[in-house]
């Protein structure tokens, strides 16, 4: 099914997507940066978006696969519960914010705060990420194929960040940890699964919480 967004409102497009049965496929054409595309999906459907999506593409969804053949605005895959969001181009700020589950893949770069408040999802960025990637990330995995900006993993909880390139600096309570065999296996599996051939799993930097901010108030 093709839905032409130059003649269909976002509201109608989303209502149509939400009515599709499991296994269905839909293609959104002429997105022209429209916000809130494919949000609140619940079924195992596949949505392809031909072009640039605005804020929150695929947000608040579960089970679905959303493939963006272009770039995205803020909060792509925000609060995702399960399923897959894949962005062929770059992603703007707050990629995968607070996502609980599923996988969010960006084949280009991601801007500031990628993986902020992450709650269990897997986030993969083939290129670089901006400042404060993984800010207050609580659970889940972030794999960065390029470089990371300032304040990486600031106020990190139990999420783990792997960076293949350089790290400008670490945020408060983030620290570099030694790679375990399980880390290498995980990175190798994720890189292979999503075609991130440029990542050498044995040469990534593991960043996790130093856990020094966990008991700041208890006497």
């Amino acid at each position: 099914m093709d839905i032409d967004l130059s003649t269909t409102t976002v509201r109608t497009a989303n209502a149509t997507l939400r009515a599709l049965p499991p296994g269905a496929t839909a293609r959104l054409t002429n997105p022209a940066g429209r916000h809130n595309l494919a949000v609140g999906l619940t079924e195992e459907i596949t949505v392809e978006i031909d072009g640039t999506a605005g804020y929150y593409v695929g947000g608040l969804s579960k089970n679905a696969t959303v493939l963006v053949h272009g770039t995205t605005g803020w909060g792509a895959g925000e609060n995702l519960m399960s399923g897959l969001i894949r962005v062929d181009g770059d992603a703007s700020q707050s990629l995968a914010a607070s996502a609980h589950g599923g996988t969010i893949v960006v084949r280009g770069d991601a801007s500031l705060r990628a993986g902020i408040s992450l709650k269990g999802a897997t986030v993969l960025v083939a290129g670089n990420v901006g400042d404060h990637c993984g800010f207050m990330a609580q659970a889940g995995t972030i794999l960065v194929g390029g470089d990371a900006g300032r304040g990486l993993g600031d106020s990190l909880y139990e999420a783990v960040i792997y960076v293949a390139g350089r790290i400008k600096d670490l945020g408060a309570d983030a620290r570099v940890e030694e790679l375990a065999e399980s880390d290498v296996e995980l990175v190798a599996r994720l890189a292979k699964q999503h075609g991130f051939d440029h990542i050498d799993p044995e040469n990534v930097t593991r960043v996790a919480s130093a856990r020094q901010l966990y008991h700041w108030g208890t006497p």
Binding site: V39, G40, G75, A97, M136, Q138, Y214, W216
Partner: protein, 421 residues
């Protein structure tokens, strides 16, 4: 700051944390009085003539607006800050009197969903426990930008209260001292907020209203921005609003009194006739409710008062094991919600302490309290000659102090003088 407060900081090496709201003296609704009917106005008979209290919120955008039988809702308080029996009791009480209760930082529990006929689901900066299934199960969504006790600050939950269930719901390690984010992770500023509200509407198929809650600071501008961003309801929480745990300096030194906030908010919504106003922070009596409505609110929210009706600060555990004395306080003065040692089982995650609170009997007390203050509200409205509590207006009020006259912008009693006019 008292010498004791200086010594406390010297002992801790950090700011003190506590529950409750601002305890300093600020102008309140008590500083206003009603000009009820006599020769120039005609009162309604209290026992024979009807005074409507029904309140509808969000009819302009939502397919299923929130319909309340009384103009008093129960404010957002988290499972975590409160025990599960306390949340259940608040839900039962609200349902019994036909009003709404609200989730909090940490998500929705099945108990509160089942016990609450109308449940408002908060979308907070932390997004702890926030998920689209619960979103769709809600009767309204409240995007929280701040609260009166700590505008500009994030939530707190000390390790003693971050037990296994609360930690799992929040995706946090058990027993840590949690400090919530103060900013939303995926938007910043009013233009983004508009898109966020649209996303929430899309994810719920435009079924339920969207509230935006702010702590009362730059009220006029913030309320206009929230309304412009598409809120159906703006909730303004004044500085007397309570909390389960926050830095004392936040509670006492930020925000403006509810009395001042309500008039500013009502003015801000003058161009937005479809946007409703809920006011909270220190609402205790039917007189407070009636005065807030007269100054422009469509409804009020109560938090602390509902907890007190539930049993907070009851004298029953003044002595004995796990008493107020163990917290270094006494019944009537306790604001130790943050410790998790709540002797009456309300602000605790301890199974033993929670067992002290019977949610069914507690709900009866809260429902009775809600009925009583609704009666007080209608009594005052009738005495002002109003057949609907929403017909109360600023003209029905005068102020007893110059400060209250200036903030509420009603004349000082016995004069026609409104300071600044």
């Amino acid at each position: 700051m008292s010498f004791d407060e200086i010594r406390e900081r010297a002992r801790l090496g950090r700011y003190p944390i506590r529950g409750g709201g601002a305890r300093r003296a600020v102008p309140t609704f008590d500083d206003l009085t009603f000009l009820t009917a006599s020769a120039s106005r005609y009162p309604l008979e209290g026992y024979r003539e009807h005074c409507a209290t029904r309140t509808v919120l969000g009819a302009a955008n939502a397919r299923d607006p929130v319909v309340l039988e009384i103009p008093i809702t129960i404010a957002g308080m988290s499972f975590g800050a409160l025990s599960a029996p306390a949340k259940e009791a608040l839900g039962r009480a609200a349902s019994e009197v036909g009003t709404a209760t609200t989730t909090g930082d940490g998500g929705m529990t099945p108990e509160e969903r089942m016990s609450s006929k109308t449940l408002v689901y908060q979308c907070l900066p932390s997004r702890y426990g926030f998920n689209p299934d619960d979103l769709r199960a809600a009767d309204a969504i409240e995007v929280v930008l701040g609260q009166g006790a700590k505008p500009g600050g994030g939530g707190m939950l000390m390790g003693q209260k971050l037990g296994p269930r609360v930690a799992a719901m929040r995706t946090l390690p058990e027993g840590i001292d949690q400090r919530s984010a103060c900013r939303h992770p995926d938007w910043t500023g009013p233009d983004d907020l508009r898109i966020k509200i649209e996303e929430l509407r899309e994810a719920t198929d435009w079924r339920v209203p969207v509230f935006v809650k702010i702590g009362a600071t730059r009220v006029y501008h913030d309320v206009r921005l929230a309304a412009t961003a598409g809120a159906d309801v703006v909730v303004v929480d004044g500085m007397q609003g309570g909390t389960g745990a926050t830095q004392d300096v936040f509670i006492e030194h930020t925000g403006i009194p509810t009395l001042a906030a309500v008039r500013l908010a009502a003015d801000a919504l003058a161009d937005f006739p479809d946007v409703a106003l809920i006011v909270s922070g220190g609402i205790r009596s039917g007189a407070d409710v009636a005065k807030a409505l007269a100054l422009g609110a469509d409804a009020v929210s109560i938090g602390m008062a509902a907890l007190v009706a539930l049993g907070c600060n009851d004298t029953v555990h003044d002595f004995g094991p796990a008493s107020y004395a163990d917290l270094g306080t006494t019944a009537g003065n306790c604001v130790a919600c943050h410790t998790g040692g709540c002797p009456v089982g309300i602000a605790t995650q301890s199974p033993g302490l929670q067992a002290r609170l019977d949610p069914v009997r507690g709900a009866e007390r809260v429902a009775n309290y809600l009925r009583a203050i609704t009666m007080e509200t209608t009594m005052l409205a009738r005495a002002c000659g109003k057949a609907d509590v929403h017909h109360l207006e600023p003209e029905d009020l005068v102020a007893l102090t110059v400060e209250a006259a200036a903030m509420a912008r009603v004349p000082l009693a016995g004069t026609e003088w409104i300071p600044g006019r």
